[in-house]
């Protein structure tokens, strides 16, 4: 090699370092934005929680922010009910379709079904909400009574919304089980169904749990569609036909005209939601790592 090439190599090295630096900037800018959001939400919200008092804020049953009463207990209950409802309906559907796709479907069926299910997640949530208002709400109102805007309607709609998330993650987890497991089970005389229930699903357990938890996070974080079908009344629902308000809905509903303590209380609602979602995600990561 000539000396010219060595010079070029030096240049290249320097350029390489600049590129590396530029990429580093990009990487840290996203973390910086995240950090600033967290900082901002907590700075606005936490003092309000302290001012109201933690038991009063988290356990209070009445929400009348314009009259200085801040209790988000009904919304915490509402969030949990809607989320659990969505999981009860959506998870069996998703897991069974993931098992079907991964273990039983012909390659050609899989090739069509998998992208179609994933396409469900590309539909904007407001479209789901619109379908909820025009189809699910009148259906519930006419068949079961009440106003139709209810925990049940929200859970039904969310169960469809979490389908793609749970199905595709569960599918990946099932595909990750080595083929040798299946071959071994079948060679020992197990039927295909026994192979799936006794070998493949237990082996993919941690991945399946992660799928469910991520679906739970999706259900909990959904806002727009839930506002449209849940009715948004601040009550602890004692029947699936009662209306309810979730934490995310509360923020989105009232942020437009909120000011002063009311606005800070909405940030505080965000803090509570943040902590709940953070715990869920941590559990998901923990389970996924334990594999």
């Amino acid at each position: 090699m000539s000396s010219g090439n060595v010079m070029a190599a030096d240049d290249l090295r320097r350029r390489e370092e600049w590129i590396r630096l530029a990429l580093l900037c990009m990487a840290f800018s996203s973390i910086l934005v995240l950090a600033m959001i967290i900082l901002f939400v907590f700075r606005e919200g936490v003092p309000q929680i302290v001012r109201v008092g933690i038991p009063e804020f988290l356990g209070g049953g009445r929400w009348a922010p314009t009259k200085g009463v801040f209790g988000i207990f009904p919304m915490i209950v509402g969030t949990i009910q809607v989320t659990l409802g969505a999981l009860v309906i959506g998870v069996p559907l998703s897991l069974l379709s993931a098992i079907c796709l991964s273990e039983f479907a012909a390659p050609r069926v899989r090739m069509v079904m998998k992208p179609l299910i994933e396409l469900l997640s590309a539909i904007p949530s407001v479209v789901y909400g619109f379908i909820g208002v025009t189809v699910i709400v009148p259906l519930v109102r006419d068949t079961l009574g009440g106003s139709g805007f209810s925990v049940l309607s929200a859970a039904l709609m969310l169960s469809v919304m979490i389908l793609p998330t749970v199905t595709s993650i569960a599918y990946d987890a099932l595909r990750a089980v080595p083929a040798a497991y299946r071959e071994g089970a079948l060679a020992l005389g197990a039927t295909p169904w026994q192979t799936v229930t006794r070998v493949v699903v237990p082996a993919a357990r941690s991945g399946l749990v992660t799928a469910v938890i991520l679906g739970m996070g999706r259900a909990m974080g959904e806002t727009m569609a839930v506002i449209m079908v849940a009715g948004n009344a601040v009550v602890v629902p004692t029947s699936p036909l009662h209306p309810c308000r979730t934490l995310t809905s509360n923020i989105a509903l009232e942020m437009a005209y909120a000011s002063g303590g009311h606005q800070k209380a909405l940030f505080a609602t965000g803090v509570v939601l943040f902590v709940m979602i953070f715990c869920l995600n941590s559990i998901a990561t923990f389970i996924a790592r334990r594999r």
Partner: protein
């Protein structure tokens, strides 16, 4: 050939952190720069959160007339607006209630009526109830009347719809309907909540058992406004003072405004602002 991977590792920690520091500084610098803007003249208008949305739209249109001036519209409530003009922290105040003539802090202030805000009580067009008394409306929204039969309609449950807390229409409704003298009846906890007049209207026009409220200007043919105390809300009955669920919107100052504040006041009473107010469902005073 030259192994690039080796160069990656050779960047020592000290230099790495120095560069990271620079990178973060640059980022913060960018964020900081975007926050700073040239400071021109600022006109602050503060007060009622009910007047705030329409005033913000008027200020936006006003900006095209006077590009050099920044108009800040702040909420806080009618009383806070009155305090702000008295303390000179705002050039103009916004109030959605009458000034208290027996309060020396308020009686002497200058005021200009902008518009009248009328609240219509709306039901499904097929609802057989055409007229309600104010007390009946209050009991319906408080959840004390649970079926339409009790007010002369069909034997069906009532589905109550309200706006969210903090909405100007909601606070107007509470003030005009739910308040009886000093006592205020709370709205039924099980009332459904929608975050826009359009949302309330949509639900009412799809549910025969629903009752809701909206600003007069937000109505259309899909819903029917019931008459309250025998008066149907129309722009005429509001202007003539017959319809009772009405409150005034005022601009307020310590003395008649001058300079930029006077220009904004004039603009708010002009034809362009009248169009904006009608879109917001208000009955302008000069028509």
């Amino acid at each position: 050939m030259y192994a690039m991977g080796v160069r990656y590792r050779s960047l020592r920690p000290v230099r790495f952190f120095a560069r990271l520091g620079i990178a973060i500084l640059v980022l913060f610098g960018l964020v900081g720069l975007s926050g700073c803007r040239g400071k021109g003249r600022v006109l602050i208008v503060a007060g009622s959160t009910s007047v705030q949305p329409v005033m913000e739209k008027i200020a936006e249109a006003f900006r095209k007339v006077k590009p050099g001036l920044r108009v800040d519209i702040e909420g806080g409530g009618s009383s806070a607006g009155i305090m702000a003009v008295r303390a000179k922290t705002a050039a103009l105040g916004m109030s959605s209630r009458e000034l208290k003539q027996n309060d020396p802090n308020e009686a002497q202030l200058w005021r200009q009526m902008l518009a009248l805000d009328a609240i219509a009580i709306i039901v499904h067009p097929e609802n057989t109830v055409a007229s309600l008394s104010l007390a009946q409306v209050r009991d319906l929204f408080a959840g004390k009347i649970k079926t339409w039969k009790e007010v002369g309609g069909r034997d069906r449950p009532v589905h109550v719809l309200v706006r969210e807390e903090g909405s100007g229409t909601r606070s107007a409704f509470e003030e005009l309907v739910m308040k009886d003298g000093k006592h205020e009846t709370p709205v039924d906890d099980y009332a459904l909540v929608q975050d826009s007049s359009g949302g309330v209207r949509e639900v009412v026009c799809n549910d025969r058992d629903a009752i809701g409220f909206a600003s007069l200007g937000a109505l259309n043919d899909s819903v029917r406004a019931v008459s309250v105390e025998g008066v149907t809300p129309t722009f005429e009955s509001v202007r003539e003072g017959k319809y009772r669920l009405v409150r005034p919107f005022y601009l307020i100052g310590v003395e008649p405004p001058a300079g930029d504040a006077a220009d904004l006041t004039r603009f708010s009473l002009g034809s362009e602002a009248a169009v904006i107010m009608q879109k917001e469902g208000l009955v302008g005073v000069f028509r």
